[in-house]
Symmetry: C2
Subunit: 348 residues, 2 copies
């Protein structure tokens, strides 16, 4: 593989001069010399060695994104946003599917540290699991000390995200929209209590109820996983509790999609018998039947701005936290409530 030494030799200049040309350094090189170097580089198909450069600059133009699972459309969208920002500036994006396993997460961050990644973006929410996070924090601190940028897009053990979304307000707005349709008994699929973001969303649900004078009934809140399977199970749990409801709001779209499926399997009609609302507005939300009412999160923008924040931090600039707005999107899965609330009087 050809190195800058070869280029310098062919151009008849020193490596220093060749370097100044190919690295576009801010240093005066005469036009003819520059042309000779460029020509030599072209002829030799020279591509600079980013490892050597990184060794000197103390970091590689690579940004790692820690996600729960890249096949979860929420995270795929965020990663794409990061990539949108990164590609233009010559950064590469490393995806790390942690499965929300602190062990695995730490091992990914260690790997990123070992290759001196310029930044790590934590796309997913932190877990309330203090004893398992020691190694993770150690690596993060070391990277920060080494000049790398650490960015969070969700609440985490050590605070609020640098770039985030107002989860509580978003859910509260959806609760408001359902209340506006006439619903008074709203169930909530809350997801895992250990996830900070799920907590925020649950708080938003409670706030929404309070804001619209609706009564809270703990039997209507179901905790569990954060995926479609948990959504289906949530419907089962809800129907077993014998507390009436006319709508189900979910802490994310996957949960709502699972609920939709289970309701269909049980012969409960949406939105005729019960309304269903999700959160996130992943692509699938628009294409189900009925299409899913949800709250749109600017996920791609979240990723892009997350990268931009990292880039600014790398340049030594401090920037204030940003909260991106959410938007309620009403589709086919919500309507005015049925006269007989589920499960009492319903088909259960």
């Amino acid at each position: 593989m050809t190195s800058i030494t070869d280029v310098a030799r062919l151009a008849g200049v020193s490596v220093a001069t060749a370097s100044r040309v190919v690295s576009e350094a801010d240093y005066a090189v005469s036009a003819p010399t520059r042309a000779r170097v460029l020509e030599a580089a072209e002829a030799l198909d020279y591509v600079p060695n980013a490892l050597a450069r990184g060794l000197l600059k103390r970091h590689l133009p690579v940004v790692g994104v820690i996600v729960h699972d890249i096949t979860d459309p929420y995270f795929a969208e965020v990663v794409r946003g990061v990539e949108d920002g990164a590609h233009g500036l010559g950064y590469l994006v490393v995806t790390c599917s942690s499965e929300r396993d602190p062990q695995r997460e730490a091992s990914y961050v260690r790997l990123l540290r070992s290759m001196r990644a310029a930044a790590v973006i934590f796309a997913g929410s932190g877990l309330d699991d203090p004893n398992l996070n020691a190694e993770l924090s150690r690596h993060a601190a070391a990277m920060r000390a080494g000049g790398a940028a650490i960015v969070h897009l969700s609440p985490h053990a050590h605070g609020e995200p640098e770039i985030g979304v107002d989860n509580a307000a978003g859910i509260a707005a959806m609760v408001g929209a359902l209340a506006g349709l006439g619903h008074r008994r709203l169930a909530f699929l809350a997801g895992p209590a250990s996830l900070y973001v799920a907590r925020d969303r649950l708080a938003g649900y409670r706030r929404g109820l309070a804001e619209h004078g609706l009564e809270e009934d703990e039997r209507l809140v179901v905790e569990g996983g954060f995926d479609a399977e948990a959504g289906a199970a949530g419907v089962d749990a809800l129907l077993g509790r014998r507390a009436p409801f006319t709508a189900i709001a979910a802490a994310n779209d996957l949960l709502a999609l699972g609920a939709l499926r289970r309701l269909a399997e049980r012969g409960i009609r949406v939105p005729d018998d019960v309304s269903v609302a999700g959160f996130d507005d992943i692509a699938a939300a628009a294409t189900t039947a009925p299409s899913l009412s949800t709250v749109r999160l600017p996920l791609r923008e979240l990723g892009r701005r997350g990268f931009e924040h990292a880039d600014r931090a790398l340049a030594g600039e401090r920037s204030a936290p940003v909260i991106l707005p959410t938007e309620v999107v009403l589709r086919g899965s919500t309507a005015a409530p049925a006269p007989n609330p589920l499960p009492i009087g319903g088909p259960a």
Copy 2:
């Protein structure tokens, strides 16, 4: 940031010895010395510099995956498979969404080359666009010459994939399944003719027709994009051609999903008026209403085996090409044909 020099000093040994311990080299180091080094590394929170190591070994433990778009569930699944294989061996995965733009693809591969990625996996199909691929091939050749592994998971300009899927057989099997239900007039949403994989699938459609004694009618084949939007447009095109059909097979699920949506908008019932079948079995296929009949591709396995192939190639082993099997999955979107084929006599 602490280096191996610090570790060596603290342990009271030379850097060579420290290196031999921390890099788990195959070299005898006495137990007490080893323990002292390990202790020092632990105390100093030492993490080896992968750049320095990579500079010497001539490549970094990083594998790039070139995809069309990471938010396309097909590719997300493949990338996850690559990650599954890579993580255990300490490799990091770089995602590159090329948007099927040869320019962008080349720039990604150049970047991967510059950081001496150990492997590049092309997950998406090649484009028949010879003049724009020169830079791309140059980089790929250079990387291969430098010892990196180049793996294709789809047909491409220079041949067949190292690890692939029998696209033609899969589509032919689906055509057979539809024929088995009694369909004789099968439309096909073929995707872009410039994509090698789309060509294979179109060939499979033709083969399937032939195998079941069905007549080919060019009016029933619609080319176009490879996404949901194109699927919707395909339905419009089909209905405008006034050639009767009772089923639509699509070259991928996104196309089929778009078709499903447009059919619903036009008040055409699936599967009562027309059957619809997809290809790939992305997660969304199971959750639409009606759920989508499709052909399952082992995407995650495809990714995992793609990585394993790369890993073997890195170790200098040659392995034979692998074709993974596909499986027809019949769900709610297919049924026996309607008495009156669309569009003649249908609701159009």
